[in-house]
Amino acid sequence: MSILGGGIFKGMAVTLRNFVSSYFSKERLTTNDYSWRPDGALPQSIADYPKEEGEQLRDTTTVTNYSRNFPMLLHDGGEPMDTVRCVACQICERECPPQCIYIEKDYDENGKYIKRPAIFDIDVSVCMSCQICVEVCPFDAIVMNSQFELSTPNRFGGLLVRRDDLLKSNDYYHQIHPEEAAARDQKMAAEKAAKAAKKKAAGEKAKAAAEKKAAEAAKAETKEGAE
């Protein structure tokens, strides 16, 4: 037979142990382990988040290497719209699960399609940070930003992020997601090389074909001449 109220005393022993050791052992407190973070610790700016405001918190504070909050458009440096990678193919617009992306293609004054977006808007209030747009983009033009200060006092329109605000340089991307950015660059370079090789091969092939053709023509000519 167990002691009268033994279960209750056991439970009270557990809570007493927790009470006392919460002062001594960091293990017990709810959030304590930040060793997995890139910087190995929780920045004070995040710990005191609403109290401390700071630019460095707004932009570059990354939570993990895969953290994703809101998409951004990449450009390769210099004047953003000259080097923007997006060609306005609208794949992400179609694939976006909550349908929060609006894209219009850009045309020059002759009505000719130039490969860049004229309008590229993303609605913050609808976006659910799922990263599908990043995965379906064939041009590595859209990636996830980890910026989280997206709230605005402006209800109407303030939550619609415009193209120029979405544009971020590749350097910035390297800053917030170093590993992912490096991998992506590598992949792009490989693709580019493969493309170049293919182009070269195609060029050589074309050249060879042309030479062959020329040779044939010459042959025919000589033939004709001979006749």
């Binding site: 167990s2 209750i8 056991k10 022993a13 017990r28 997995w36 699960p97 659910m128």
Partner: protein, 383 residues
């Protein structure tokens, strides 16, 4: 409603004293309905004489949405069904879609899927037990301990997928990305520390006289009714049927792991059994996790499935043993990039079929803990 007959409570008139039943609408804003669930309860004093569950406050017609978008685009929405277990929801959907497009999943991805699903089970069960004891009135102490442990696992999810709850991590034919360096070791640490926490939890809860007398004999569910009502998951095993899809279907690579399925004799099937079965299942999950973490190979994590695809017209029903029960996805493809029909078989909703049968005749406090022991998430009930 069908089988359980409500006692015939007419307006009672005795010696000029006129009394009537007290009708209370518990929910949709009530601290312990686990979301926007509503129970229309008729009370005779404190005794429940009738109870009607009312659904639909969180209905967003997920199925219709999914019919209007591509297969891949539905993946993030499955996270939002049962927002505690986004990883296993992903898996169920991926399993159904992989039947349509027939791709091979690489070995490493299969192992990671098992690891993620079992971590999810730990998250779900540990917080369910916390919520359950909270429903019993324990002012959140077990819940806080549960959330402390859950936090560690959510940290792992965040490192792997970039998000804590809406992980969106599984893809058809594999996973979205490999886990970062050192992740497996950290997961191992969390898994190794978990049993000591469970010991403490058991010491705190399992012998407590108040918990014993509050939960034992409350909300009995017979084996026959449980099977007929399609109750699945820990609730079914608490009613005495050792039916676990990990053993029955052996989807993924569950045939490689050695684990046991805790169940009862089926003679009681009350709230205490449902609570204890979950406690025991966590230990088995830890066993699976240890084996999986030890045996995980290196390699690719993504098969050669295309991101956007058009499966041939076919039907597929994929189901997994989710933490709450059998989670099934029924897909009909018609050759277009969008599913023709997308159906979720929500365990939470179907387990609620027996809510009324279990609650009748109990006290109002019993109704609350019975609902807690069913373990529902309204995102999944209403979809």
């Amino acid at each position: 409603m069908s089988t359980a007959a409500a006692p015939n409570y007419e307006l009672l008139q005795q010696d000029g004293l006129e009394t009537s039943l007290l009708e209370v609408s518990m929910g949709p804003h009530h601290p312990s309905t686990h979301g926007v669930f509503r129970m229309d309860v008729k009370l005779d004093g404190e005794t429940v004489v009738d109870l009607q569950p009312v659904f639909g406050y969180l209905h967003r017609n997920h199925e219709k949405l999914a019919e209007n978008m591509t297969y891949l685009s539905s993946m993030p929405f499955t996270d939002r069904l049962d927002y505690f277990n986004s990883m296993s929801n992903n898996w169920a959907y991926a399993l159904a879609a992989e039947k349509l497009i027939e791709v091979e999943v690489p070995e490493r991805a299969e192992y990671l899927r098992v690891i993620m699903a079992e971590l999810t089970r730990l998250v779900n069960h540990v917080s369910l037990v916390g919520f359950f004891i909270n429903d019993l009135g324990a002012l959140g102490t077990p819940l806080m301990y549960a959330f402390r442990e859950r936090e560690k696992i959510l940290d792992l999810f965040e490192q792997a997928s970039g998000a804590r709850m809406m992980c969106n991590y599984f893809r058809f034919g594999g996973l979205r990305n490999d886990v970062p360096e050192g992740w497996l070791e950290r997961a191992g640490e969390v898994v190794d520390r978990f049993p000591s926490f469970l010991d403490e939890y058991e010491q705190l809860l399992c012998e407590n006289e108040i918990i014993l007398s509050r939960t034992q004999g409350v909300g009995k569910l017979s084996r026959e009714l449980a099977v007929s009502a399609g109750v699945t998951g820990p609730m079914l095993r608490a009613s005495g049927v050792a039916y676990d899809l990990r053993k029955v279907d052996q989807y993924g690579i569950y045939d490689r792991f050695k684990f046991r399925v805790p169940h009862t004799d089926g003679d009681v099937g009350d709230c205490y059994d449902r609570f204890m079965i979950r406690m025991l299942e966590m230990r088995e999950s830890i066993e699976i996790l240890k084996q999986a973490l030890a045996g995980i190979p290196k390699g690719e994590i993504m098969g050669n499935a295309p991101r956007v695809f058009k499966p041939k017209p076919a039907e597929a029903y994929g189901r997994i043993e989710g933490p709450k029960g059998e989670l099934g996805f029924y897909l009909i493809a018609d050759g277009s990039p969008k599913p023709y029909r997308f159906r979720v078989r929500p365990p939470s909703l179907i387990n609620l079929t027996v809510l009324r049968d279990m609650c009748l005749g109990g006290k109002i406090a019993d109704a609350v803990i019975i609902l807690g022991s069913i373990d529902i998430v309204l995102g999944e009930v209403d979809r």
